[in-house]
Symmetry: C2
């Protein structure tokens, strides 16, 4: 029986996740991990732990040579980056749950890990307790990962589920999500897709060695989706999900985006309802694996933080194999998407931008079309999210063949449809 590294932890944040961690570590001495100090923002609050455990001075943790692990579960991403980078520089391993901070400082954090040689683990930052980072990092080799698509935001998935199953409109569903604790009082971070694209940023690093900023990845949230769109989905026997997706293109680059998408009932992601997350990985031999679990909430987050802590006992660190051991992939824009667009007024839709249009529907109040458009057009212009326009990708939206499109366009023009 080998002996393991004894972990002495400095914890930042004592909300539900922090307090839960403290309790579990106390009850599980075999983990050989104990919390020496907890740094909080406001002293004086009544807390379920001895008062001597707490400090408001971050240096009491960051400068304590006894503390070899810093766990950071705070909300403020600027402060979090400061804590994480100082801790790494001061010779500590770090566990973090701050997706926004990681996405926004990805390159700096990669450099810090290289410089210091210390572990920086953040499994809880994406899909909470689903071990997606670990599996992308360790199991799905560069050459074997054909595509990955995922529901990475529990709040928006809860809202979409309620719009779909209970025929609520967006505002009613959002209110319900807030009442049940699945959305913040300022829900924009979730609803507009920022949280999802933040997570997708560093999942792309572990999947393909891509180190992009969130603003370089095309994304949108579900803020423009209307009850009518859910009815269209239902009529096609499909659902609408906010899907983060990436796929290797034939030219070796990687297509990546986070957009609402129609999902067929036999798609694994259709199983993912309410606040759950799910990941579908297509690997060698075109075989698909599906990972599923709660994507938000204190227990799933704490569960993943705990797994990261326990991995530190074995000196585990991310190797970023796809980035350092291979030629990292680049993002590619040279592909097309099949999209559904619903709108109030045709004037706002530049229909000449479409390669071809496959479906039209119009009634007085609301209209929609289904057509094929280049990814570059969506990236360059924003008409598709303005003027009450709602863009939802069709099921299996990605089209690589560019040759046939001219022909198809012509045939429709000749037929007088366009």
């Amino acid at each position: 029986m080998e002996t393991h590294k004894q972990l002495t932890i400095g914890l930042f944040g004592f909300g539900v996740v922090g307090e839960g961690l403290y309790k579990v570590l106390q009850q599980t001495p075999s983990l050989k991990a104990s919390i020496k100090k907890v740094c909080i923002k406001h002293s004086g609050k009544k807390r379920n732990a001895p008062e001597t455990l707490f400090t408001t001075d971050r240096n009491e943790i960051l400068n304590d040579p006894d503390i070899n692990v810093v766990v950071e579960v705070i909300d403020d991403s600027k402060a979090a980056f400061d804590i994480v980078s100082t801790a790494l520089k001061n010779g500590k391993d770090v566990v973090s749950a701050s997706k926004k901070m990681i996405a926004e400082n990805l390159k700096a954090l990669l450099a810090l890990q290289e410089q210091t040689g210390h572990s920086f683990l953040y499994e809880s930052a994406a899909c909470a307790s689903i071990p997606v980072i670990r599996n992308l990092e360790e199991y799905y080799d560069n050459d074997l990962l054909h595509s990955i698509k995922a529901i990475v935001n529990g709040s928006t998935n809860f809202i979409l589920t309620k719009m779909f199953e209970e025929k609520l409109d967006f505002k009613q569903a959002l209110l319900l999500a807030q009442q049940q604790g699945f959305a913040e009082s300022d829900p924009r971070l979730d609803v507009d897709g920022f949280d999802a694209v933040n997570k997708w940023t560093f999942l792309l690093t572990h999947a393909y060695g891509i180190t992009a900023s969130p603003e370089n990845i095309l994304f949108n949230g579900i803020q423009n989706i209307q009850g009518g769109d859910a009815i269209v989905a239902k009529s096609k026997d499909q659902q609408i999900k906010l899907v983060a997706q990436a796929k290797k293109l034939q030219n070796g680059k990687v297509a990546a985006f986070v957009l609402p998408q129609f999902v067929k009932q036999n798609d694994h992601l259709a199983f993912v309802k309410n606040e759950y997350n799910g990941v579908v990985i297509e690997s060698g031999f075109a075989d698909k694996q599906f990972f599923y679990g709660k994507g938000a909430g204190s227990f799933p987050t704490a569960s993943a933080v705990l797994s990261d802590i326990s991995a530190l006992r074995y000196q585990y660190k991310y190797e970023y194999k796809k980035l350092y051991h291979h030629k990292p992939h680049e993002l590619g824009d040279d592909f097309f998407l099949r999209v559904y667009i619903s709108f109030d007024d045709l004037r706002f839709i530049p229909k000449e931008k479409f390669e071809w249009i496959e479906e039209w529907y119009a009634q007085e109040a609301r209209k929609y079309l289904v057509g094929v458009i280049s990814f570059e057009e969506l990236k360059k212009n924003s008409w598709w999210k303005e003027n009450n326009t709602s863009l939802i990708l069709a099921a299996d939206p990605l089209i690589e063949e560019v040759e046939t499109r001219k022909l198809k366009k012509k045939s429709l023009e000749l037929a007088g449809v366009l």
Copy 2:
């Protein structure tokens, strides 16, 4: 960009998996893995590869110092063990898909890995392409793995699905499985539960450090399940699955068994239909993760073999952390199970062996009861699989509390029910 180990592979077996592997490795030079020699049983068959690639002499691979990786995808478990052990001793890393061979020779294979220091990977041997071994080994720490339950046999799951959804009886469903290639012509290995318990044997090693023989684990297959049982399941809004299960008991030991089980519709395993496999892991903070994918077939198997091969480029090996780095867990018998038993004749049912009985149903042709019985009783005696008796665990069958049982029994006796 680091350089990796160049893999020169000797392959045993050239069925669908072997041939598929050969093609993919040829098409993916970036994997830096090439097959130098393929050992087959019968020469002379026409094969889609150059004739010089093949040999019927295993020593042409096992004694070739150029070959540093042996991949073994053959059917004969005795020959497979011989190949694997010789290859390890001769300084080669080994990838195997032979679950029966691994289960039956687990301790010898563990010893061989320790002696030789070489890698022996077998992700494809359980749940095919679902990376369950890797996740148990790397992600779910000893102290954090509360329970694991899984559908690990695709053939039986296919048969049960058809009995349930298409109201076929067992024999009709088995025939359909054979016609569609999901069951062998001699289906006993799958149907009687041998295949499932074989897989469970080494999954328990990676989950809890348990090194038991298949014969030490209580198991049964689905051979006694009748159409009427499926109807009962349906009336309770449940399904029947062959579930492999393990759970840490309060006394620190591990309960483990492979038995048919009623599964509620909201159980993740209810989602697993036809030839698919699924794994539900309950980890720290009682959070559940679900892994899902195809459990059988040439592509899923080849996909997992390919992932193992690619991991050898990084010198990956199983550390068996739960076995060597912790005090390994032991199997425990001190618990009770809630069971459903259907039968033709009450004479064959020793009703005094039950702690208590909760439900009776009788009609002329077929009767059933639901009751609580000690695990030890099921382990010691076999009346529950004889005389056309069918035992199916109730949903959430495991009961640890033994104190209340006497009282409950008495109260039923007093009430004149027993």
